[in-house]
Point group: C2
Chain length 443, copies 2
């Protein structure tokens, strides 16, 4: 066929995995001993550990310690092939995906493309806010917040000063709550040492949540503890409120208040990131693919979706599983097994989600967790929750090297109350032409 | 005065240091206990350890492990002020520097602006080659070489393939030699595991040196050992040769040979990076400021230049000191002392360079060093040279945290023969429109 990629045809069934997040990577590993060829396609050459991106964005970790190159993770797996490419569309009848580097034939196709930020159609918000979906986003946030503080040193006008020092976080889920806590720790422990010239009482951190509670979906105890922790740490929490418009400078709240902030972090929701070409009927309102208990996309036998992009309606989860790491990991693992069963002409096993609970950390010794052990939910908090959260996150990192790096960075941060990664490398978010920071005139 | 920066006037003599490399940073530290205000201006918010940039460029170290934010290094020094800015010109009569954030009055001005790559007027070379003067350059090199290898997997045409896999390094000084060695180690140990689909015999590394020896200025033994090591490691060394033109793809050598390479690393020489406004007579042909034995710029009492940007003609060094870390560090240290002496109305001490020798590492267990101990030069090589080089470089890093990070990375590299930082984050060098890599057509 014309335009095929140069990936060798091994004469074995080929499993093409689109996206190397938690689900896609787990599946690729699971197929190590299967008589198949595994081809992973991703637009980055590394796996990123998304739950810690907010720490990269707030100078607590360097990007390298939460990412691992796919080729390194899997370079001893002989049936593994990687391509750095964008997937453009799927032709399920011809069993081919079109990519930026050519056509790729498949026997089994697995979509593990995850989600993208949902701005609910607000283009201005999308342009002016920073989301936390990729390493690039996190580095942009770090560059922006540090550049703003450097600029603040030379600004006289008090409204301009507020716009540089204040932060608005939209969304009271784990990302928003953890981000607010991390910024608060920078304000309390790091910036006073770095910027003795600034009055840090002027740095305000706003967390805006549309519903009546933070950490929706977690226990009432967890929500209440998180709220208390954030208030203790001087975060201004706006419940039952919403940002109705943002132009990169002016923030309008539904309740009528007006704020100014050059940094608005958008953590208010996600939508699926589907690929063109499949039957539109298989794509639900959430932009997730409707899948059955084997993760088969509705209407297809050999096209699967796993993780955040898959919506499997069950009695316990009528709207699909939560879009977090565990369902993706568990579906990746099971699908690996099921593909091997298919090849052996055995029936596949249905997916049953083993919920291990949810955790969020707000700061040093301050975390909340709803842990499920032997089917029973326990609520942990404070020092224990914080230690548990740290342990779980370190163990979940994909490489030994990442674990050592994060452990070392956290131990250092803990002992020194310092966050060492305060570098501006690359560009901050493009500055506005309107509301430009007044720079001193050169006479 | 209109347009002054907002840096508080402490009512003490103000020392303005332009540039936070080895010399500028050392001077700032040295003035910790002096009755002066220290203002450091740099266009980055961190100090970078330049001698290891080549390892960042070749995925052996991450950028964070060789840089430290100025505010962190010096945040316990009460008389220290930092500004992230560009310096635009100097008015020595008014005792003012013009910067991108306003005017800055000085009592003592110290120029420590270092050097920039010297392309000898070849604009095409400047546009198409990669130099190694900043962290941004090193990351661009890493992104480019990894992107080229990813692209190479899908290229059929053999000339295009060579252009992606081949490297040309111009300049046989320490940077060129160390870079050639590092690329050779990637070829021998890392890329075979990462790219089993590629025939790495096709990856050629060319090192082009205009003179008859490598590491000019070092001992004959050092030069010869370096040459032998590189030949053992299959680097093609071109002595007495020169790249006469490079368009980003075609490389023409003076000897008539033609090569193709998308990556040409320019390590062939530097020129001073002066600031506008001083008496042109003080600026020598090398673009370095002519300074006396106290590092005073010719014609000025309170304007100093230290490090690479200063040219102090002495009997031993009629063309000025070598443009490496040691003279900068030693001049920074002495100038700190001399400024304190000036304030006490004591005579300044003249600078005497204590040469500790020169080292270069080519690879694992392969390094050369001319060490000077008690006035006598010793030549070390092989395993001992390599260990010495590693020790000296770790100890020279500015922060404990950097030392731990580099030590850990090197120990890991040593044990696993791996270079873990194989990430493409940010952009590779902009691809050419001419000689574009043929991408498979999407049918």
């Amino acid at each position: 066929m014309e335009g095929l990629t140069k990936i060798a045809d091994l004469g074995k069934p080929r499993v093409v995995i689109v996206g190397g997040g938690f689900g896609g990577l787990q599946l690729a590993k699971e197929l190590a001993d299967a008589p198949v060829q595994v081809v992973l396609i991703d637009k980055h050459n590394y796996h990123a550990f998304q739950p810690l991106l907010y720490q990269v964005g707030t100078a607590g970790l360097n990007a390298d310690s939460i990412i691992s190159p796919f080729r390194k993770i899997l370079n001893e797996q002989e049936n593994f092939f990687f391509r750095l490419a964008d997937v453009q569309s799927i032709d399920a009848t011809a069993q081919v995906v079109e990519t930026s580097i050519g056509l790729l034939r498949f026997d089994y196709l697995v979509l593990a493309t995850g989600t993208t930020s949902n701005y609910f159609g607000d283009k201005q918000m999308e342009e002016n806010s920073i989301s936390l979906k990729s390493v690039g986003d996190a580095i942009e946030l770090r560059n922006t917040l540090l550049s703003n503080f450097e600029q603040a040193l030379e600004v006289g006008d008090s409204k301009q000063l507020n716009s540089l020092l204040d932060f608005v976080i939209v969304g009271g889920g784990p990302t928003g709550v953890e981000m607010a806590g991390a910024l608060s720790e920078l304000r309390a422990h790091v910036f006073p040492r770095d910027y003795p010239e600034l009055d840090l009482k002027q740095m305000d951190i706003h967390l805006v949540q549309s519903g009546p509670v933070l950490l929706k979906g977690m226990s009432t105890e967890a929500s209440e503890h998180a709220l208390k922790y954030l208030k203790d740490m001087d975060v201004q929490v706006w419940l039952d409120n919403r940002v109705t418009s943002y132009d990169g400078y002016n923030v309008a709240l539904k309740s009528g208040e007006k704020l100014v902030a050059r940094t608005l972090i958008w953590a208010a929701g996600v939508t699926g990131a589907p690929v063109a070409g499949l039957d539109p009927a298989a794509l639900l309102k959430s932009n997730r693919y409707q899948v059955n208990e084997f993760n088969q996309v509705a209407g297809y036998d050999n096209v699967f979706a796993i993780g955040d992009i898959a919506q499997m309606a069950t009695a316990a989860y009528p709207e699909g599983h939560p879009q977090v790491a565990q369902p993706a990991l568990q579906q990746g693992r099971l699908l690996g097994e099921n593909i091997k069963r298919l090849l052996n002409k055995q029936p596949m096993h249905p997916f049953v989600y083993a919920d291990k609970g949810t955790m969020a950390t707000i700061g040093r010794h301050r975390a909340v967790g709803d842990i499920i052990l032997f089917g029973k939910q326990y609520h942990i908090t404070g020092w224990l929750g914080w230690l548990g959260w740290s342990f779980v996150h370190i163990m979940a990192l994909v490489s030994f090297r990442n674990r050592i790096a994060v452990f070392f960075a956290w131990a250092w941060n803990y002992l020194t109350q310092d966050k060492g990664m305060r570098y501006i490398i690359g560009k901050p978010k493009a500055p506005l032409t309107e509301h430009a920071v007044e720079v001193k005139p050169i006479v």
